[in-house]
Symmetry: C2
Subunit: 342 residues, 2 copies
């Protein structure tokens, strides 16, 4: 399959993230994409192509207009305050506080549009976000044009970005963009299957009331695993979307057998909705060696995931999400893709 | 007037806070209370007495039970994860995420019960919180017993602590405790007047639907000033509490003349409700030299504030809130109290 990739991700580097009472170097770093890129050549997965130029029109169907208008401004606003380090919020509008008045100060605006301290900005962040956006839409176009599959190798990832919030390394929801583009190009129904360790809270937020995009996710139980506040089994959609969201949370420590059973259940759920196309939020932080996740898959399991997904027989856009065991990320991510193509 | 004070605040020390993309030493530090304590003796304000033992029964009328049960456990839970630095959340349940399921992991529970990264815990934090709680209730009892005024010199402060959230250096709402204790002791209606630079979002949250406790606040406009997401002029109460909240936001840079006009308006609002007693949330971060606030009051203005408050002719409990220009905090805080007693 073709991979869509842009070097523009490299500028999103040197940012920090808030975790366990400290600001640490971002686990979501450029090496991740570079190692996957190298592995694609190593196994001769297929051509690597640049993204086509894209407008933000599709993003505007998924994200709040004020949110999208804010993202490109963040770094300049932060620098205007005389600050040099990564831009990050320090207060959030939790229930009981107001979300109907957007504040004016950069710190407050960052909090207003986020749910954590894990989506910080440096000078190159917006350029990388915009490139990942173009990458996802271009990969979806390849599939809409007839390719059986395509791989959107962008970063930052996207599945924690909701209609109005960033967080968890994510700003614009690339998988949601791919799904929406497939809809624009004629698919009556699209399924998003999220196999990242962390629940795709942003994707669920965006599609929760819709019946034309099914969301199915296998992930660490939010009672103990990030992003914590969404992804429980009793969340099944609302309004027209009732029945079109399916969460399969699994306890930390889950190994291949139980995870593979969940994948079977997830694939059955996808098939039951008879979608015309599939978007896979491809996280490989389910790997046993991942530094911030707690499932126990081995590298040998990832091709098996790809083979199982291929059995759905659907045109498929793979969108890169998480995976932080950098030394293994190429083998694991490309392992899924190669398994899919066998 | 008598001051109620406990040395137990001293253990809440060495904590950090998240601000402007960094974790910095807490501005809310032990020296604050110690310098005020010394100034009380210097000007012979009156006796300094220890708090009487108190149960959490009054706190349970103001704060959520799960929240109160969580606070004493934080440090042990954090240490159980092998961590030594200050305990702080890193994700928050903003709108779109769930607040009806309390997560199990300490990081998530901290976020579930807070709105920022400004209320961190160290080994002595709970002991200090509990002592500040006892201090506030004891001061209220002194006034209920007939003293014209008393000063609750506790820390951490409390006015950013809501029914279900901590933040902004605050954990249990000491001013709300004092107001509730005055109600318990026979006052039909109590007014809380908050003159801290920062809006008392926690106090407003607690009393917003009540008509027996009036909340009036003068503060930096939340569009640009912390805590950002509450404290606008159009917030006036809800249900039975409609008309019993009054916010007087002022722009950053406001000096004495405009601030004094707002104080007159605030006092008129208090008087209009004919309360039986007054609680003053006493922040002196309105001082021009404050490192994290932006009004421009001089030390000479603080006694004038005290004299204006005295003209209300109400039994008054002063509860210490903010003020971070440590070298001036004694002169400024005790200046208000001495002015009140003139």
């Amino acid at each position: 399959m073709k991979t869509v990739y842009s070097e523009a991700h490299r500028g999103h580097s040197g940012h920090g993230e808030l975790v366990a009472g400290a600001i640490v170097p971002g686990f979501e770093k450029p090496e991740r994409a570079e190692i996957i890129r190298a592995r694609i050549d190593e196994v001769d997965l297929g051509p690597v192509v640049p993204p086509a130029a894209q407008t933000l029109a599709t993003a505007h169907k998924l994200h709040d207009a004020a949110y999208l208008a804010f993202l490109p401004q963040v770094w300049a606003l932060w620098r205007a305050e005389g600050r040099h380090g990564p831009a990050m919020p320090f207060a959030w509008p939790v229930p009981g506080l107001r979300r109907d008045v957007e504040p004016e100060r950069i710190d407050a605006r960052l909090g207003f549009h986020s749910f954590d301290g894990g989506a910080s900005f440096v000078a190159g962040t917006w350029t990388a976000i915009r490139a990942a956006h173009d990458v996802a839409l271009t990969a979806a176009d390849l599939v809409a044009d007839g390719a059986p599959a395509a791989f959107a190798l962008g970063r930052p990832p996207g599945h924690h970005a909701g209609a109005r919030f960033m967080g968890g390394y994510c700003y614009i929801n690339n998988a949601a963009l791919a799904a929406e583009r497939l809809r624009e190009r004629g698919a009556a129904r699209v399924a998003v299957l999220d196999i990242d360790y962390h629940h795709g809270n942003g994707t669920q937020d965006i599609f929760y009331a819709r019946d034309d995009v099914v969301f199915v996710s296998i992930h660490g139980d939010p009672k103990t695993e990030f992003p914590f506040f969404l992804g429980h089994a009793d969340e099944t959609g609302t309004g027209a979307g009732a029945g079109f969201t399916r969460n399969l949370p699994l306890p930390a420590g889950t190994g291949w057998e139980a995870w593979a059973d969940a994948l079977d259940a997830a694939c059955d759920e996808v098939a039951r909705h008879r979608p015309d196309a599939l978007v896979v939020s491809l996280g490989v932080d389910t790997f046993a060696g991942d530094p911030i996740s707690r499932f126990r898959l081995d590298s040998a399991h990832f091709p098996r995931i790809g083979r199982r997904l291929a059995r759905l027989g659907l045109p498929t856009v793979f969108v890169m999400e998480g995976g932080y065991a950098v030394e293994a990320i190429g083998v694991n991510a490309v392992g899924v893709l190669a398994g899919f193509e066998e």
